[in-house]
């Protein structure tokens, strides 16, 4: 068990290392293939007055003149031991985990990301609650009422749901429920109010994104749950349970659901981890200032420290979600032994 954990943790770290290297090289090596010199690369960060010397200064300030390896080393070092940043009037220590300073706003990336996290988290959690309830419930009912009108209707909707691109549904819902309505004060979905500031507005503003996002996932989960339910309800042990004279309700709940939901948990864990790393499309569609939007903006602005940071954060969530899921699995399914 312990050895297993250690092994997994090491694995996770290695994975993150690989991700970071690849991402890093994409941004620091590929442009060079494109024939950009360090100074060229720096030019984009010197604002309007891009004189040669200015570019030189910037290149030096951003450390582009060193070999890529060195730059990478510096980046890694900062994460673990922090780094010192010269902000003009003095030197500031950016304590670990230090993901460097934005090339453009020159604000430290890490607090910036932590700042965005609540938005993405709120989005993910809210949506997750909706889609788990809606999706699983629909799935179970469809499975039990297999072939019924409800089943066919639900499954058709679900299929439509998984076939709709979120940036389309989101756009439409915005137009219909938000822009379309001239009386509304702020567009739900286009602004974010921190929970601690006012839970009501928080929920109100997130309603549209939640529903849009949840719809997509709920559809998928309904299909999954239904399939899983049908499979387990065909298992021998269900027959056994019935043979015991167990009332149908507890056959479904205690025996059927229990087994059918286990794989759902796994998938949910991974999905959720992925979402925490930034619901890129949703956040973009509703321009919510979350991790995903942060990532897109950073990429467009070529703000490398931000891109690195956000990629790592996202990867981190995925990796650890999968780890947690595996542990969880061992808890729910006694047959699974961690070793």
């Amino acid at each position: 068990m312990v050895t297993y954990l250690i092994r997994r943790l090491i694995g996770a770290v290695v994975m993150l290392a690989v991700v970071s290297m690849v991402t890093f090289s994409i941004f620091f090596v590929v442009p060079r293939w494109a024939g950009a010199t360090p100074v060229d690369m720096a030019t984009r960060y010197v604002g309007r007055t891009a004189s040669a010397e200015m570019a030189q200064v910037a290149a030096q300030r951003l450390g582009f003149l060193d070999p890529v390896i060195v730059q990478y080393g510096r980046w890694v070092k900062a994460i673990f031991v922090g780094a010192d940043y010269d902000y003009g009037a003095g030197v500031e220590h950016c304590s670990a985990p230090c993901f460097g300073y934005s090339f453009l706003s020159r604000l430290p990336v890490w607090p910036d990301m932590l700042d965005r996290l609540p938005v993405t988290a709120s989005l993910a959690i809210g949506a997750a609650v909706i889609w788990l309830i809606a999706g699983v419930a629909t799935g179970v009912l469809s499975a039990l009422k297999r072939g019924s009108f409800f089943d066919r209707a639900a499954m058709s909707v679900a299929l439509a749901g998984v076939s709709l691109p979120i940036f389309f549904t989101g756009l439409v819902s915005l137009v219909v429920f938000s822009y379309g309505n001239p009386f509304r004060v702020t567009a739900p979905g286009s602004t974010y109010t921190p929970f601690e500031q006012n839970p009501a507005t928080w929920a109100y503003n997130l309603l549209l994104p939640w529903i849009t996002l949840a719809f997509l996932y709920a559809a998928g989960y309904a299909r999954l749950t239904r399939a899983g339910m049908l499979e387990t309800m065909g298992e021998d042990y269900i027959r056994t349970a019935r043979a015991k004279g167990l009332p149908e309700r507890s056959v479904v709940v205690r025996h059927g659901l229990r087994a059918a939901l286990t794989p759902i948990i796994t998938i949910f864990g991974l999905d959720f981890g992925l979402l925490l790393g930034g619901a890129v499309l949703t956040e973009s569609t509703f321009s919510l200032p979350g991790i995903g939007k942060y990532a897109i903006d950073a990429i467009i602005a070529n703000d490398l420290p931000k891109v690195m940071g956000v990629t790592m954060l996202a990867a981190f969530f995925v990796v650890f979600a999968s780890l947690i899921v595996d542990l969880l699995y061992a808890v729910v399914d006694p047959r699974v032994r961690l070793s």
Binding site: Y237, R239, T240, K244, G245, H255, P334, R335
Partner: protein, 342 residues
């Protein structure tokens, strides 16, 4: 009227591809303390019969007709809810593959306790005690410890014992064992069979053993019912079936029966062809495409469905060949081969 009585039981499943006649007009009766063996290839409808008796075909699109009388109660027309209350209490079932038949997420104990507490309003503590006793009774060592293990932590034999314990938890009066030993290796098979014999004696329950292997029922059962294509094609006492079987299919089964008293080396006499489709059953005698003696029925086998007729003393046979002819064939052609084999 006897304890268990089936009258012209029919269970049909409409599927996209047509009507599956799994059980097609089956009748038999069974007394307390007696054992009936139902024998047939897979697809012959034997398991569906048992499920039918327990009312487990319900919920599906199965169509059931006929009568099932259990201790004076008719079950086919009875409400599902009522049948449920009988299930596990008055009648219990032991399934073929104990591993897949027990829920992997619950301990053996939990599953027995659950079974017990459905029908007996007792505390978890009491139920657990009961479960431990049962496990002990079915011969599981250190039951007080094993009670908390999960099915996958048991050996095949142990699992089957636990399964039996679960079935016996409410001392049922009718016990149905569906291929109780096929999943197990030979030595364990023997143990399980002994166990069941003993238990049946103490419980004085009516026992139905469903199997494709005559060997299994040879020792246990008083009567044997041979099923083919959803129908009973021969019925009689164990002695009838083993000493003077009259149906070609039964002969086939006997021929293909591995017996402990035989040399494992020698080859069996298999039945040619494969089980019939349950949708469009071959015309006339369902067995005729595979029957070696079909030519001796003046072609009736292809056209008419043979009746299930009594030959003597409750020994029933469903065959077109005249009784004497059947006996002659058995005496002169089949029996010697089997003897020679041994």
């Amino acid at each position: 009227m006897s304890f268990l009585e089936l009258k012209d039981l029919r269970i049909h499943f409409p599927t996209d591809d047509g009507l599956v006649k799994s059980v097609d007009g089956l009748s038999f009766s069974l007394e307390r303390g007696k054992t009936l063996g139902i024998v047939g290839e897979s697809g012959s409808g034997k398991s569906v019969t048992s499920l039918g008796i327990l009312g487990l075909h319900k919920g599906g699109r199965a169509r059931i007709s006929g009568e099932i009388w259990l201790d004076g109660e008719e079950l086919v027309s009875a409400s599902a809810e009522h049948v449920r209350t009988l299930r596990g209490k008055k009648m219990a079932m032991i399934f073929q593959d104990p591993l897949s038949s027990m829920h992997p997420f619950y301990t053996v104990g939990q599953q027995i306790v659950e079974a017990y507490r459905i029908h007996n309003d007792v505390s978890k503590k009491v139920a657990r005690k009961h479960a431990i006793d049962l496990l002990g009774r079915v011969g599981i060592p250190q039951p007080d410890r094993r009670v908390d293990s999960y099915p996958h932590e048991f050996s095949g034999g142990m699992r089957q014992r636990a399964m039996i314990a679960m079935a016996l938890s409410c001392d049922p009066e009718l016990l149905i064992a569906d291929e109780p030993t096929t999943a197990l290796d030979v030595t364990v098979q023997a143990q399980i069979l002994d166990l069941m014999r003993d238990l049946q004696r103490d419980f004085n329950a009516a026992l139905i053993i469903i199997t494709h292997d005559l060997g299994v029922v040879a020792e246990l059962s008083d009567d044997i019912l041979v099923m083919y294509g959803g129908k009973c094609i021969e019925y009689g006492t164990t002695e009838d079936i083993f000493e003077r079987p009259e149906h070609p299919y039964t002969w086939g089964l006997l021929g293909s029966m591995p017996r402990l008293d035989r040399e494992p080396t020698e080859r069996l006499l298999p039945i040619k062809g494969s089980p019939p489709s349950l949708i469009n059953v071959p015309s006339g005698c369902a067995f005729h495409p595979r029957c070696a003696f079909e030519d001796r029925t003046e072609g009736r086998a292809k056209t008419e469905v043979p009746e299930l007729l009594e030959t003597e003393g409750g020994h029933l046979v469903r065959c077109h060949m005249p009784r004497d002819l059947r006996r002659a064939i058995w005496e002169n052609e089949i029996k010697p081969n089997l003897e020679a084999a041994s």
